[in-house]
Every structure is written in C-alpha cells, then in structure tokens.
C-alpha cells in the first residue's frame, strides 16, 4: 500500500472542499435538530393530552415515521416535492418530521415518568402554577430527557449522510468527486478520502455522545 496516498486529502483545495461539504451536512443537521427540538417539545406535551383521539393521532404519526426507513421518506418527499424545492430543503423537511416524532416520544416519556405527587406536593406547599413548572416540573423533565435528546441529535447528524443519495452535494459527494478526479494518479484515493470522512463524522459525533453519556451518569444519581 502506498502510504503517500493520504496527501490526496490535503492536495490543492481538497481539504477545503471537503470541509465545505461538511458544512452543508452540518447545516442540514443543525436546522433539523433545532426544528425537531422545538416542535418535538410541543408534540410531546400534546401526546400527554387527556383526549384519546389526540394521543392516537400522534401515535399514528410517530409509528408511521418509524416503520418506514428514512431513506424511503427522503425519496418520497424528494420525488413528489422536488419540482419546487432542492434536495437540501427536502432533507431538512424529512429530518425535521422524523426528529419531531422521535423528540416528541422522548418528551412524552420524560413527562409521564414524573410522578404525579410532585405536582400535587408543589400545590400543597402553596406554589403557584408558574412556580410549580419553573421549579419542579421543568428541571426534572429536562434532566430526564436531555441525554436522550442529545443522543437523538447524534443519530440525526449521522443520518444526514443519506442526503447524498437524493443528490445533495455534501461531504460524501465532494469526496466522490475528488476520488474520481485523482484516481489515476492516486489509486488508493478512495481509501484515504472515505477514511477521512469516516474520521470526520467520528470526530463530530463522539464528543456529543460522550456528553450525553456523562449527563446521564451525572443525573441518574
């Protein structure tokens, strides 16, 4: 194996191009994570509603998103909406729909796992409604859902790599372009480029999942 092949990553503007590609991935991931976070909290609260019909509708939405692979959802939205929107916007829509469903389930789980007497004890102490939420419900719920929510974020970051398959030019696509251009001079280019992208994703996801694990351990006690 020609170990000098790694230079293909750093040759010319290659590194810059790869990082620019990563920026596209990051943009899709960040926007979707943000939208999912906000809408997911709303959905999660709605899912704890008293009305069974509301709960069922949310449940159907969640299960429908879950049972079909994300790649299939990307295809469905891409081929039915693509005329007006680009691949990037389609991916953001799909990832937000998916993330909202998953986040909703996490929030629902966290809210429901909170014992009822917490709220009642607060009321018995004479706290106002706002105070109960401010000091009792929200801090405890956040502790329960944050590790899972961060975990979901890493899952979403990882899954954004699929957008290359609906024609978004992101880090993997840029990698392919670089490989195609330099394959004659550097036969091992695909090993180094894909290996580099592999490490890039790891470098992003590992610290985030470490944070989630640490928070979980800290708040469990």
């Amino acid at each position: 194996m020609d170990s000098s092949g790694i230079s293909v990553v750093f040759e010319g503007f290659n590194l810059l191009r790869l990082l620019n590609g990563l920026l596209v991935t990051a943009r899709i991931a960040l926007i979707s994570v943000f939208i999912s976070g906000v809408l997911g909290i709303v959905l999660g609260i709605v899912m704890t509603s008293k009305w069974k019909a509301v709960r069922s509708v949310c449940r159907i939405y969640l299960e429908a998103v879950r049972i079909i692979p994300i790649l299939v959802w990307l295809f469905i939205f891409y081929f039915t909406l693509n005329l007006e929107l680009g691949g990037e916007l389609v991916s953001i829509i799909v990832f937000s729909l998916w993330g909202t469903a998953e986040m909703g389930d996490i929030v629902r789980g966290a809210v429901e796992s909170l014992p009822k007497h917490q709220k009642e004890s607060g009321a018995a102490l004479g706290l106002t409604y706002v105070q109960i939420y401010q000091y009792i419900i929200i801090p405890q719920t956040v502790r329960r859902l944050l590790p899972a929510a961060i975990n979901l974020a890493t899952r979403m970051i990882k899954t954004t790599s699929l957008v290359v398959l609906i024609g978004v030019v992101e880090v993997l696509k840029v990698g392919q372009q670089i490989i195609e251009r330099s394959i004659l001079e550097v036969p091992t280019a695909s090993f180094w480029i894909y290996g580099f992208i592999f490490l890039l994703y790891f470098a992003i996801c590992y610290p985030v999942s470490l944070l989630s694990k640490r928070l979980e351990r800290k708040w469990q006690s």
């Binding site: 049972i67 079909i68 692979p69 299939v72 081929f79 894909y194 592999f198 994703y201």
Partner: protein, 219 residues
Amino acid sequence: MDFGFIIQSLPLYWKAAQLTLTISVWAIGLSLLLGFFCSLILYFQVPVLSLIVKIYIEISRNTPSLIQLFFLYYGLTQIGLKLEAELCAVAGLTFLGGSYMAEAFRSGLEAVGKTQIESGLSIGLSRSQLVRYVIFPQAFSVSMPALEANAIFLIKETSIVSAVALPDLMFIAKDLIGMYYSTKEALTLLVLFYLILLLPVSLLLTALERKVRYGQFGN
C-alpha cells in the same frame, strides 16, 4: 395511478424484497452473535479484548452506516481487501449492528442484581449453572425490547445497500423512476413492500417479547 404497471413490477419488487430479507436475516443473526460475544467480553472484563470491544463500539456507533459501507466497499478494495457486494453489505451492517446488540445485551447483563448472583452461589450453583439458570434468563428478558428495536433498525438500515449497487427494494424503486418516470407507482410499491416486511416482524417480535419476558410479567 397505473395499476397495470404496478402488477407488472410486482415480480421485480418481490425479488428485491427477497434480497432485502436475506441481507437482513444474515445481518441480524451475525450482529446478535457479535454483540453477544462483545457483551460477554465487557461483562467479564476480559483484559485487552474489552478495550478493543470498547473502541469498536464507539467507532461503530458514532459513524454513519452509509460511510461505513462506502469505506468497506470502495475504500478497502483499494488496499487489497475485495469483497462481493452482498458480503460487503452484510459485513457493513454487522459492523453497525454488532455494537447496538452488544449494548443491548450488556444492559441486560448489568441489570441482573448482585444479590441474585450471590444467592445462586450460596445455594451451591456452579459458575456455569449460575450463568445458565440465573444470569442469562433474567438478562435476556431485560435485553429483549432493545434487541427487537435493533432488529427492526437493521432491516430498515438495509435500504442503504442500494448505494453499493445491490438490487434491493430501494434500488428497484430508483430504477423504475429513472426508466419509466413512474414515480407514484414505484414509491407506493416501495412503501408497501417495506410495510409487508416490517409490520409482521414487528408484531412477531412483540409476541416473542411477551413470551421471553414471561419471567418478569409473572403469570
């Protein structure tokens, strides 16, 4: 919606579904095996090996499956390790699934209380008896929901193998859209076939879970 076209394409999808299913079965089976051994290594804290397993789990869980597959299929061929596309898909999905299964097994093993093990020892069970009659049944029943979720996850994850030119369901759908512009029909069939694959598995696993968790639920 062109129903004639749908009927015509059914055999194509049927064949593709078989490939998706074959890859899924292999990937799930091998992931279970790999995950089981990894979890045992972690549980018994085998020196050196447990460090390797830990590193493997972190790498596998923190990188996208598509990139793993690309690296395996396009990257490693360049340095002399050439795999068939099917083998590559199974290997890639096992690499991904193994770590998820390992975590599921490990959480089950860790959930078995210390008192359970001590009680077993105090009534004179041997080490292998302890593992067989006390630790495994309890650990397995705790791990079951996570194992199931991982199995479904792996079946869904097979949708990426079309990226290494394997004619699975995704591939056929993409092909039909490209050749005949029959977007609506191709996508409808795609969803339908995934539902046909995934819904029974999901129901079957729920039933299985009830059976395995019998010990926890009681009569």
